[in-house]
């Protein structure tokens, strides 16, 4: 009995910690969706590019701090470049067109990343210990704890940025009402550029943590598929939703795989998260924290 309970807690904790990792990816989506209404599918390839840059520099003998700094600059440039060359010419186009454009961008980034750094598979060691930790007999991954802490720090920094700085306030104004923001003289393009640059930074953090978990390779970009149900559950335009949604999806996914999986033969994680999100949506069509569009007739 105790044994079962402990196992349940282990699964739950593991799920919540995985969920934090999903949130990390989801936040990158939310930032951009909130301000420019774009579901940026290139987020995955940005994650790949960021991690690949860091790891390739490390392998060429560049110190970690410098490698991260270079990648950081690179990601900011890429984020702003996408905004400038792709999204701005497409302003006022349908959301689906914007989405497809970011898919096109992801081809470009994936191709460029491999052209630049090769198609090899790399290990990425961030120097975070990954031996299992036993707390009250419950096994917890120390790496996941550290990763969660880093993710939490990033969210805190982002929140502080958006609450305390002028640009941040402008961001929130734009997210609330682009037309009003435009009317009071906020420069939309400058804010968009900032947001895209920020999403580049988020991609770097996600790339490093996920890269350390998976190794740095092409399939790193596929982590976005883990973030999509999180977005649906939490609402595309809510940072808080991305966090709560991530935790909920992570936990639900692991619990279902362990307890429900054996009943149907296992391997249900790939779609179960979507099913959970979908079931939830039928109750609340715009997610946990998503805003309901107002229709005027």
């Amino acid at each position: 009995m105790m044994e079962e309970l402990r196992f349940l807690i282990e699964v739950l904790v593991g799920g919540l910690l995985s969920g934090v990792m999903y949130s990390l990816v989801a936040i990158g989506f939310v930032l951009i969706y909130k301000t420019s209404g774009v579901l940026n599918f290139a987020q995955g390839s940005m994650i790949l590019f960021a991690a690949l840059t860091v790891v390739s520099l490390l392998e060429r003998g560049v110190p970690m701090a410098l490698a991260i700094a270079v990648s950081l600059v690179g990601m900011i440039v890429i984020g702003m470049a996408i905004e400038r060359t792709v999204l701005r010419p497409l302003v006022n186009r349908t959301p689906i067109t914007l989405f497809m454009a970011t898919l096109g961008v992801s081809y470009v980034i994936e191709g460029a990343a491999q052209l630049l750094w090769g198609a090899q598979v790399h290990g990425l060691d961030l120097g975070i210990d990954d031996s299992p930790l036993e707390i009250q007999g419950v096994l917890v991954s120390s790496f996941d704890l550290v990763a969660a802490a880093i993710a939490a720090t990033m969210v805190a920094v982002l929140s502080a940025f958006f609450r305390l700085t002028r640009t941040g306030l402008a961001f929130r104004a734009v997210a609330d009402d682009p037309f009003a923001a435009l009317a009071v003289g906020l420069r939309l393009p400058a804010i968009w550029a900032t947001v895209w640059a920020t999403s580049g930074i988020v991609a770097l953090v996600a790339g490093l943590l996920w890269g350390a978990r998976l190794g740095v390779q092409f399939s790193l970009s596929m982590v976005v598929l883990k973030a999509l149900p999180v977005l649906v559950l939490g609402g595309f335009d809510s940072v808080a939703g991305a966090i709560v949604g991530g935790l909920a999806i992570g936990a639900a996914e692991k619990l279902s795989e362990v307890y429900l999986g054996p009943l149907v033969g296992g391997g249900i994680e790939s779609w179960f998260a979507y099913a959970v999100a979908l079931a939830f949506l039928l109750i609340r069509p715009t997610g946990l924290f998503g805003r309901k569009p107002v229709e005027r007739v």
């Binding site: 898919l103 979908l278 949506l281 039928l282």
Partner: protein
């Protein structure tokens, strides 16, 4: 030139092609997959382009069509080809209907992402339950040749002809649908759901109908893809990437046009092939093929973005403009000035 006449002309040319040229590369590597993808895109266009319901699950429905056809041929020996195609499309349509139910409640990206549930669930189920693949040890099925009236569609040209016949017939029907009252209803719920409801369009019925018809076409496209083109069925061939590819086809080709599906498919099939052949032809053999392919990927992505930027309404609109420019006299006879319209089918919208 009226739409139907244009369709007949193109069909005649396409059907006559094998008389002139019979190299298998053209049919097996270009035209047959082009036809299958066009049909899938046509199906998605009815759903996404006309009815405005974004789906990212197209390739799952192709898979359902393919597996249905496999199991039908396997389990009901002697079932005629037409019945196989109809039943495969029908099964896909029925499942599409179920996965269309969320559309009654969700919209936009919420709906789009929810269709991913279909994508992953179908892939999982087909892989999980051995029955679907006749308990084949490796799960990858070798598709038997399709037969009709004692004829086996085995040679590249025969498989092309079969695809052509199916695609032309279904395109003609889809064209008629798009011009009918029901076709207008699809556009009505896309453009203004509230207004549509007020004027008496049944939103529930119309949305589900869109899923039904769209899934039918995509299911048949899946049969062509697996039986006429690849001749193998493997669940890994129906991934999210394929769904994206089909979505690309309609966005680049032209949303809510019949011809957009074909133009877009031509673009998406020929672009990578053309680039790859061009690269192979122009660059020295010693050139690193990995570098080449990655560069091509960059070029392909850039071209997609470029087309999205320069042509909001897709290549179909671009083609139409060029056509008008080439035939300035005809464009003057647009029926703007005509006080009364001729019978509805031709005038509701003059072009395909």
């Amino acid at each position: 030139m009226t739409a139907l006449r244009f369709l007949v002309l193109v069909t005649a040319l396409a059907a006559g092609l094998p008389l002139v040229y019979s190299g298998s590369y053209l049919y097996d590597a270009i035209l047959t997959p082009f036809l299958a993808l066009s049909l899938a895109a046509l199906g998605l266009n009815l759903l996404t382009g006309y009815a405005g319901q974004v789906s990212l699950g197209s390739s799952a429905f192709m898979a359902i069509g393919a597996y249905s056809a496999y199991n039908l041929t396997l389990r009901i020996p002697g079932l005629p080809l037409v019945a196989i195609l109809l039943a495969s499309g029908g099964i896909t349509a029925a499942i599409g209907l179920v996965f269309g139910l969320p559309s009654l409640r969700l919209r936009g990206f919420y709906l789009a992402v929810s269709t991913l549930a279909a994508q992953f669930f179908v892939q999982w189920a087909l892989n999980k339950f051995g029955w679907f693949s006749h308990d084949s040890a490796s799960g990858v099925i070798s598709a038997p040749a399709l037969q009709a009236f004692g004829f086996r569609f085995e040679s590249p040209v025969a498989r092309y002809d079969l695809s052509l016949a199916v695609v032309v017939l279904l395109t003609a029907l889809a064209f008629r649908l798009s011009r009918s009252q029901t076709g207008l209803n699809l556009i009505a719920i896309r453009d203004h759901e509230t207004a549509a409801r007020v004027i008496g369009v049944s939103v529930v019925k119309t949305k589900l109908l869109a899923f039904l018809i769209s899934s039918f076409l995509i299911g048949v496209a899946g049969v062509l893809w697996s039986f006429a083109y690849l001749r193998t069925i493997e669940p890994n061939g129906f991934t999210l990437d394929r769904s994206f590819q089909i979505l690309f086809i309609i966005i680049i080709g032209g949303v809510a046009t019949i011809r957009g599906a074909f133009i877009g498919a031509a673009f998406m099939v020929l672009l990578p092939l053309g680039l790859s052949n061009l690269g192979a032809a122009l660059l020295p053999k010693s050139f690193d093929s990995g570098v080449l392919e990655m560069s091509l990927k960059v070029v392909q992505g850039s071209l997609i973005v470029l087309f999205l930027i320069v042509e909001p309404n897709g290549l179909a609109a671009l083609g139409q403009r060029l056509w008008r420019r080439a035939l300035p006299v005809r464009s003057g006879s647009k029926p703007d000035a005509q006080p009364f319209a001729p019978p509805l089918p031709e005038t509701l919208n003059g072009e395909i």
